[in-house]
């Protein structure tokens, strides 16, 4: 009985781990695919799948045979002791010596490719060229699958990277600062309309920002803010403030009352209390919101598309443009996607703990 239970437990644990590993593999494979692709030479990417960098069995061309002119390509064709129709040759036929003969191209080529199934080890043909190409804003050349040389202007991802920093850093700090002041005001100061204003903030938490894009763009055009960093910080501040204020309010309003009371009795002003007491005590809440907002801004596409456009393009816009304009250039797209992902991934993996805390507190937002 006890033994039986133990075995059940072990099988249970086996299946649990099996299912989880399976899901994790499915989750990771797409990312591994583009990571590998981004390091492969462009002409290889067009020809073979990324998984061919791993050891595998492959038909390697060892010879080419041109059939004599008198062979009727429309009838049965005989080669190497096998007779078959053109369509069958096209699909490839196993010969007696273990090699495989495949028709090359259309009927008029009269060419058979002889190949042998062999083991191929790890590919060593990896390159940093793709990254160089997407990062620069200058002219680049590369080869496509047919070996043609193609010349293009690079996508200037390094410029876009800087722009994304310029959007994300102030766009994270400004709303946090404003929200911290407001949260303190709502939590500890008495003023008329306090309830109504805070209820409105709670309501604004899930308002889709689409509602604001058209009116705000009109304002920006008349103020000359369209396409400027200032414009997009203000926009991100506006859209991020409800959540920031709400989260920080929840945190600041639970700080111990006695602490603040004794500070007031000591004659400290509201501003001193805020800067010397509230801000240092709220660091955990500030940090978790900061990571949240930073990732959100870095990965944002819609707001940047509307208010910045292509003038000061961020990484998301640069990558999306690349997909739109050069949708088959996988060597550029994969490298660009990785450039756009690297910083948020580092921030995320390093500060996951804080991020999760912010997520828990903010799960009312859409």
């Amino acid at each position: 009985m006890a033994k039986g239970q133990k075995t059940t437990k072990r099988t249970q644990s086996f299946w649990t781990n099996f299912v989880l590993i399976l899901i994790c593999v499915i989750w990771m494979v797409p990312v591994i695919g583009i990571l590998i692709t981004s390091f492969r030479p462009s002409e290889d990417i067009f020809k073979t799948g990324w998984w061919t960098v791993f050891p595998h069995k492959e038909d390697i061309e060892i010879d080419r045979v041109v059939l004599p002119e008198d062979v009727d390509v429309n009838g049965p064709i005989t080669y190497g002791g096998k007779t078959a129709m053109f369509e069958e040759w096209q699909r490839g036929i196993e010969l007696d010596d273990g090699t495989k003969a495949t028709w090359y191209g259309n009927k008029r080529t009269r060419t058979l490719v002889i190949s042998q199934n062999q083991w191929v080890g790890f590919t060593t043909k990896l390159t940093l060229e793709n990254y160089k190409d997407v990062l620069t804003g200058k002219t680049i050349t590369y080869k496509d699958a047919q070996g043609n040389t193609i010349t293009r202007v690079g996508n200037d991802l390094s410029g876009a990277f800087l722009n994304s920093l310029a959007v994300s850093i102030p766009g994270t700090i400004i709303p946090i600062l404003i929200a911290a002041f407001a949260a303190f005001g709502f939590a500890w100061l008495e003023f008329p309309g306090r309830n109504i204003f805070f209820t409105i903030i709670v309501a604004l938490l899930v308002v889709p920002l689409q509602i604001a894009l058209v009116p705000i763009l009109q304002d920006y055009v008349s103020l000359g803010l369209n396409g400027t960093f200032l414009g997009i910080w203000l926009a991100h501040t506006g859209f991020g403030l409800p959540l920031a204020t709400y989260l920080l309010f929840n945190y600041i309003s639970t700080l111990p009352r006695e602490l603040l009371e004794s500070a007031y009795i000591d004659g400290a002003s509201n501003l001193t209390i805020f800067t010397n007491l509230i801000l240092p005590l709220s660091v955990p809440a500030l940090a978790s919101f900061a990571i949240f907002q930073f990732l959100w801004l870095w990965n944002d596409y819609l707001v940047a598309l509307v208010f910045l456009g292509e003038k000061n393009q961020t990484v998301t816009i640069a990558v999306a443009r690349l997909v739109g304009e050069k949708g088959q250039d996988w060597h550029l797209m994969t490298a660009a996607a990785f450039v756009s992902m690297i910083l948020p991934l580092i921030v995320f993996l390093a500060l996951q703990r804080y991020f999760v805390r912010g997520l828990m507190a903010g799960s009312v937002k859409g």
Partner: protein
């Protein structure tokens, strides 16, 4: 809450500005300084504004100025307005000071979110250029046009399948991982896509779905088509086949959102009291029964919150569709139609009506949030 009354602005406030004021001494000096300080602040900020809105300086310089100006400017504004308010008679200062703290936030949220609701509502009853009233025409478009009906259908697919799979898988992984040694590893892997932008995820999955076409000697380079041909099937241009292409797009959302559901649900599952689980197991309940009869009822509230959040997310889905198909081949969604109407067709009227429709769809959540907030903080 009478803390504010306890606070009287003290004359010997020892900040830097106060010292300068004391040095001036006279009333005239005080008035002069009161005008001078805001004026200087204003000029400094204005110059920064001009520099940044002109935007023709070298990029790195712009970025640095941007950061210093943006962050420093906000701090300076608070310091100066607070200092000005403190100069006022004690009673006025006490009334006005809270607004120094909450005023900027209220003003910005008003400008960027609250007032636009009203402005969009008005624009939704006017024509494309906003020059004439046209009654309900935009709403008739929004609710009856075949384009819009397609977006509603697709958003419904996103909502039903995207949400149920994200929450379902998230719950399954949270439950299973909880009983393994490598829990942290599994959870990190599933959670990591949350750090990736929808645009980046678009590239990742577009590569999985990519299609080269039928021909001799062509090797599929997309993972899905390679698997299909290895199993003897025919490769397909997955993103061009309606209505199934919607599901291939929804897979991306599931890939991104399952981690979110998993993390929240995982912490809820860990909150289930151990005695409860222990008692059930001693009574001979199977793991399946423990899951459905104890864990699920216990985390019902969290489950509801997570589901709501992901439903709202799926309603607003935009980036994925924009990058993958641009809304073509029968994959259009409400937010993409909004984008097309407002920025491609320049029809502010229809765009606003669509935005209002989106708002209406999330209204139940807004009402519920307000209700639960008010219950939470009775006597706020």
């Amino acid at each position: 809450m009478n803390l504010a009354q306890a606070n009287t602005p003290s004359p010997n406030n020892n900040n830097l500005f106060a010292k300068i004021v004391n040095w001036f001494g006279s009333t005239l000096g005080k008035i002069l300084v009161s005008i001078l300080v805001p004026a200087v602040t204003f000029i400094v900020l204005w110059q920064g504004y001009l520099f940044l809105s002109a935007a023709n300086a070298p990029q790195i310089l712009q970025v640095i100025v941007a950061i210093v100006w943006g962050v420093g400017g906000v701090a300076l504004l608070y310091l100066v307005t607070n200092w000005l308010v403190m100069k006022l008679p004690a009673k006025a200062a006490r009334t006005l000071q809270p607004f120094v703290f909450v005023g900027p936030a209220i003003a910005i949220m008003g400008w960027f979110l609250a007032i636009p609701v009203v402005r969009s509502l008005i624009a939704s009853f006017r024509n494309a250029l906003g020059t004439e009233w046209i009654g309900l025409d935009n709403y008739i478009y929004a609710f009856t046009n075949p384009r819009m009906l397609e977006t509603f259908r697709n958003n419904a697919l996103w909502m039903v399948f995207g949400t149920s799979f994200s929450v379902g898988l998230g719950l399954l992984i949270a439950f299973l991982a909880d009983r393994t040694k490598a829990e942290v590893v599994y959870k990190s892997i599933i959670f990591t896509p949350m750090a990736i932008s929808f645009v980046g995820a678009g590239v990742i999955w577009k590569f999985v779905y990519t299609y080269k076409g039928i021909g001799v000697g062509i090797q599929e380079i997309g993972l899905l088509n390679a698997i299909v041909s290895a199993l003897g099937g025919t490769p397909q241009p997955w993103l061009n086949i309606p209505p199934w292409n919607n599901f291939f797009l929804i897979v991306i959302m599931i890939w991104l959102q399952t981690g979110y559901a998993m993390v929240i649900l995982s912490s809820a599952i860990k909150g289930v009291p151990a005695e409860l689980l222990e008692a059930a197991r001693i009574d001979g309940a199977t793991e399946t029964r423990v899951f459905f009869n104890i864990i699920i009822p216990y985390i019902k509230g969290t489950l509801l919150t997570v589901t709501t959040t992901i439903v709202i997310f799926s309603l607003k889905t935009f980036d994925i569709v924009r990058v993958m198909t641009g809304g073509n081949y029968g994959t259009n969604v409400i937010a993409n139609e909004f984008y097309l109407q407002s920025f491609t067709y320049n029809d502010a009227g229809k765009a606003s009506a669509i935005a209002i429709v989106l708002l209406l769809l999330v209204t139940p959540v807004i009402v519920n949030n307000i209700r639960s907030f008010n219950e939470q903080r009775k006597g706020f």
